[in-house]
């Protein structure tokens, strides 16, 4: 089963609402990176694990500087107040809990807040690209996941138990998909917002764990 939902940019927009003035934020590869388009005007500082705080917007054309990239290997810019530092300082601040909000993509999230993102068993390799994901989860004060609600062929990515290798266990706070906004609470998954037009049966049909319905359930607000 597969439903029409928000485009990726709009998932990013909705997730960006969880970021507030004064936050230090790290954005993972994929949909999370798109969030940087939606925080203009907010008093927020982006950290890139390559060794940079106050990462500026993407660079294009003549502004591209080969010594200045973000952790997704995109050309970026610096801003007044940017700082560069080495990699052990960067991961010191990540593990040390200095990121207020971390947003990651995922292959699967479980009802316990476990999440899988670093290795797709379908690739047939027992090694994979861990990158900074596990460190970011270990140090996150607030871990948000942004992703498509289902796989391309409509299989649930929100599951009872991970079948993919875990990146971290019990760390996810909120899940933002094209179809819903879900909070991970001790009792399970709390459905808070739903894509306009979808029924509770619809969303449950593409979500493996039984969802707890928020008394304040509303349509996804953009």
């Amino acid at each position: 089963m597969k439903f029409e939902g928000l485009p990726r940019e709009m998932i990013a927009l909705r997730a960006s609402r969880e970021i507030k003035d004064g936050d230090y934020v790290n954005l993972g590869i994929g949909i999370p990176t798109l969030i940087s388009n939606w925080i203009e005007g907010k008093d927020v500082i982006l950290q890139s694990e390559i060794g940079m705080t106050k990462t500026g917007p993407l660079a294009f054309g003549e502004d591209v500087e080969q010594d200045l990239i973000n952790a997704s290997c995109q050309a970026v810019t610096q801003l007044p107040g940017t700082a560069y530092f080495d990699i052990f300082e960067s991961f010191g601040m990540i593990r040390g809990g200095y990121m207020d909000v971390i947003v990651m993509g995922a292959l699967q999230v479980s009802s316990k807040g476990d999440y899988a993102g670093w290795s797709n068993p379908a690739r047939g390799l027992e090694v994979g690209n861990i990158g900074g994901s596990m460190d970011l989860c270990a140090g996150a004060n607030k871990l948000l996941i942004t992703m498509e609600h289902t796989t391309r062929d409509g299989q649930p990515k929100i599951v009872n138990e991970l079948s993919y290798p875990a990146t971290a266990k019990g760390k996810v706070n909120m899940i933002f998909t094209d179809l819903a906004v879900i909070e991970v609470i001790p009792q399970g998954l709390l459905l808070k917002e739903l894509y306009p037009g979808l029924t509770l049966e619809d969303i449950q049909s593409v979500t493996e764990p039984k969802l707890i319905i928020s008394p304040d359930l509303k349509e996804i607000e953009l």
Binding site: I29, S48, E49, I50, G51, M52, V64, E65, Q66, D67, L68, I69, N70, A71, C73, Q74, A75, Q78, Y84, F85, D86, I87, F88, S90, F91, I94, R95, D114, N120, A122, R123, G124, L125, E126, V127, G128, N129, I130, G131, G132, S133, M134, D135, A138, G139, P165, A166, T167, A168, K169, G170
Partner: protein, 246 residues
């Protein structure tokens, strides 16, 4: 204490078969490409390349030659494979990993950074929260089954941590924007990444520098890597390279 060598060839002349060489760089940024090319030209074999975050994806032409020449025995990294599985299937490095010809040992990036830092700083082992709850806590993650050495975990204040060990290398190849004759270095922007920490972890650290200056030209408060960590300095041209990876 003049540490300047005339050429990269001379500077790496004692890198022998089986050496472990630290290769900094974060994808395309800060990779010691010219030292890598000298390593290819030298043709030494059975190398262990200790990386941080995909410098060989960033320097893909160099990687292809290293694989083609069968110079690499093992790569240590946090992000060594193409993101795209289909592109990966056509990549000669990934093929060599799949066949077991090259070992790929994988760590979380921050753990790897800390392993080099510990190696340079005389810390034999440390505990980290990173990887607890994943396969990383169980054993070394590698494609070579017999090298999956078990790891230890320990609970501090109710939370689980993984014991990880220091990593020192025989050589470290460093790319710096500026270096003085005594080995004090400065990096530009995000090309700093793993360069400083690997300079501390290498038993012999060789820096290729885009700008070679006299001692004192780097202000003492502005040194990124003190020269004490650097045994050899070589002047190299500034290369232009693409920064995209797949």
């Amino acid at each position: 204490m003049d540490k300047v060598w005339n050429s990269v060839e001379e500077a790496i002349s004692d890198v022998e078969d089986g050496a472990t060489v630290a290769i900094p760089g974060f994808f395309a940024a800060g990779v010691p490409r010219i030292l890598l090319r000298a390593l290819i030209a030298k043709g030494v074999k059975n190398l262990i390349l200790a990386c941080g975050c995909g410098p060989l994806l960033g320097a893909s032409e160099e990687l292809e030659l290293l694989v083609k020449n069968r110079q690499v025995k093992k790569v240590i990294d946090s992000y060594a494979l193409y993101r795209s599985a289909s592109k990966g299937m056509q990549d000669s490095f990934e093929q060599a990993v799949r066949s077991g010809e090259i070992e790929l040992e994988v760590y979380p990036m921050g753990t790897l950074a800390e392993k080099y830092r510990a190696g340079g700083a005389g810390i034999p082992a440390f505990y980290t929260p990173t990887g607890a709850g994943s396969v990383v806590e169980e054993s070394i993650v590698t494609n070579i089954v017999e090298n999956r050495k078990e790891k230890e975990t320990r609970i501090f204040d109710g939370k689980k941590y993984v014991l990880e060990y220091a990593l020192k290398t025989d050589f470290a190849f460093i790319h710096a924007s500026m270096g003085d004759r005594e080995g004090n270095l400065r990096y530009r922007m995000t090309s700093r990444n793993f360069n400083h920490v690997m300079a501390t972890a290498g038993k012999i650290t060789i820096a290729e520098v885009e700008n070679l200056v006299e001692p004192g030209e780097i202000a003492p408060d502005d040194v990124h890597t003190p020269g004490i960590y650097v045994q050899r300095v070589v002047k190299v041209p500034r290369l232009t390279f693409a920064i995209t990876i797949d």
